[in-house]
C-alpha cells in the first residue's frame, strides 16, 4: 500500500478544498468532505478500500497538550470533541488498514457528522451504536435509532461525563456508596421537605 503522505496527496488532488491532516497513523478529515473522501477511497483503483472494518466513537474531554513553540514546551488548552474512527481495509487488494478520523465541533448540543452508510452498508449498525452510546447524529443514515439502549433512554452512557442515575439499582435503605452518591444529587430531606401531592 502507498504511504499515508502519498494517499493524502492523491485525495487532495481528487477532492477539491478538502482539509486533511496526518496524526499518527491516521488521516483526519473535515466533516464537510468525509463522504467524498470515503467515496474516493472506495472507488479508487489503486486503494480499493471496499471494506469498512471498524467504526467507533471516542469522547475526548477538554485537555491540556504540550506543544513545542519556538523550542519551548508550551501547554495549550485543547477543546473537547467527539471523534469517529474508521478503519478501512481492502478485500480486493488485501491491504490495509487506512484509518480515518472525523471530529465534531465541541461536545455540547446537536453534534452531527455525515453518515457513510449510503456507501458502506457495514457502517449501518456501527453508526447506530455510536449514536446510541455517544449521541453523534449521522446525517444521511437511513434508520438512525437507538440500538443497544432502550428507546426511551435519555442520556448517552459512553460519554466520559455520564452520570449514572441514583435509582439505577433501587434500594429501600441506601447506604455507603449509594447514599453518598444520592447526597450529591438530591438535597437533604431537612433542607427541602417533600410535600405529598
Amino acid at each position: 500500500m502507498e504511504t499515508l503522505n502519498q494517499i493524502k496527496d492523491r485525495i487532495e488532488a481528487a477532492v477539491p478544498s478538502v482539509r486533511l491532516a496526518i496524526e499518527g497513523r491516521s488521516l483526519v478529515v473535515d466533516r464537510e468532505h468525509l463522504l467524498e473522501v470515503a467515496r474516493f477511497l472506495k472507488n479508487d483503483a489503486e486503494l480499493a478500500m471496499d471494506y469498512v472494518s471498524n467504526l467507533c466513537a471516542v469522547d475526548w474531554l477538554p485537555r491540556k497538550v504540550k506543544v513545542k513553540e519556538g523550542g519551548q514546551d508550551v501547554e495549550k488548552d485543547l477543546p473537547g470533541f467527539l471523534e469517529v474512527v474508521y478503519d478501512f481495509y481492502s478485500m480486493a487488494k488485501k491491504h490495509g488498514p487506512l484509518q480515518l478520523r472525523c471530529r465534531t465541533d465541541g461536545r455540547e448540543g446537536m453534534l452531527s457528522l455525515p453518515s457513510i452508510t449510503p456507501l458502506f452498508r457495514g457502517a449501518e449498525f456501527q453508526e447506530r451504536e455510536a449514536f446510541d452510546l455517544y449521541g453523534i447524529r449521522f446525517k444521511g443514515h437511513p434508520d438512525l435509532r437507538r440500538i443497544l439502549m432502550w428507546d426511551g433512554f435519555k442520556d448517552f452512557p459512553m460519554r466520559k461525563d455520564y452520570q449514572q442515575p441514583d435509582d439505577h439499582e433501587w434500594e429501600p435503605t441506601p447506604h455507603d456508596e449509594v447514599l453518598q452518591q444520592a447526597k450529591k444529587h438530591w438535597p437533604a430531606p431537612s433542607a427541602a421537605p417533600v410535600k405529598p401531592a
Binding site: G24, D50, Y51, V52, S53, N54, C56, V58, D59, V85, D87, M91, K94, P97, Q99, F120, R121, G122, A123, E124, F125, Q126, L133, R146, I147, L148, M149, W150, P157, M158
Partner: protein, 386 residues
Amino acid sequence: MIQPFTTPESGYTLIPKEGAIETQTIEVSMGPHHPSTHGVFRMDVVLDGEEVKRLKPVFGYLHRNHEQLAEKMNWLGSIPFTDRLDYFCSMSNNWAYCHAVEQLAGIKVPERAEYIRVIMAELTRLINHSCLAGFLLSDAGAWGTPLLYAFREREKILDLFESVSGARMMCNYMRFGGVRADVSDDWLACARKVVENYPRFLDELEALITGNEILLARTQQVGILPRELAINASVTGPMLRASGVDYDIRKVDRYGIYDRFDFRVPLGEVGDVYDRYYVRILEMRESVKILQQALRDIPEGPFDAGVKMRNFKVPAGDGYGRIEAPKGELGFYLVSDGGTRPYRYHVRAPSFINLTILEDMCLGHKVADVIVILGSVDIVRGEVDR
C-alpha cells in the same frame, strides 16, 4: 336491561371465488423468548401470509455496557470480561484482546506461547463450528439429536480447557505476552488424541447430515447473500467466505505464527445457508490440519514474556488489533493515555455486524426460513449486545 340473545339472520355471504382476495400484512414480534433466537434476540417481522416483507432486528436485551466496564478497569481486569463476549469461544476473545494490547505496547510473544495460542484458538474453532452445525439442525427442526453429537465432542475439548485453565467455558487463559499457565506433555498427548479422532467425528456428522434430503431442501437456495453485498456490508468469517470472497485474516494478516502452517481457505459458490454450513465443516477439517502441525512442532521454552501484570501500563497511543475468530473478524480498538486503564476500549464484534444484512437475506422467504437463516449467521448474544 339484558337484551335477549338472538341468532343472527341467516344469509351468510361466502367470499366469491373469482377475483383477488384482499390480504393484509401482519406484524409479528419474534422473540425475545423464542427458542431459536439463540438467547434474547427479537425480530420485528412484517408478514404477508407466511412471506417476510420486512424484518428489523432488535437488540440490547443483554446489553451491559461492556466497553464502559472495561474503561473503568485496569488493562488486565477486562480479560475475564472478554470471555463473556462470545461465551462459546472465550479463548479466541482472550487472544484478540491480548493481541491488540500487545500491538499497542510492543510486547513480543515467545514461540511456545504462540503455539499454545494457535492450538487453543483452533480447538475453539472446532467447538464453535461443530456446535453451529448442531444448532442449525435444531433450528431446522431436528431437535436435540445432532446438537448432542456435537456436544459430545465439545465435551472432550472442554475437558482439555478445564485441565489447563481451570474453567470450561470462561477460560481467562491468555495474558499480555503469553498465556497464564504452561501445558504439560500429558496435556499435549491428550490433545493429540482428541485431534486425531476429530476427523472421524466429522465423517460421522457429515454422514448424518450433509447429504440429508431434508437439510438440502431447507437450506439450498435459501438466504442467498451475494458477494458484493457481503463485502459492502462488512460481513466477515465463514459467512463471507461462503459467498465466495477469499478473505481469511489468518492468511491476510498472518498474525501470530499462522504463516508457518499449511492450510487452505474453503470458499462457497452460491452463498446460501447450505454453503455457510458446508464451509464451516471444511474449515474444521483445515483446523484439524493446523492443530496436527502445531501439536507436532510445539517447541520447548518460556510460555510468557514475563510482563509484570500488576500496575501494567500501556504507552499512550491508539491501535486496532484484529484476529480471525470463529465467527468472523474480532477486533479491539484501544486508546491509551499512558495510564493503568484504557481510555477507550471498543469491541468490533463479528456477529453484531454480520446481522446487518439479515433483512436482505430473509426478504421473500417464509417465516420458517428466517429461523434457519438466523441460525446460519451464527450469533451469540453476549457479543451482539455487549
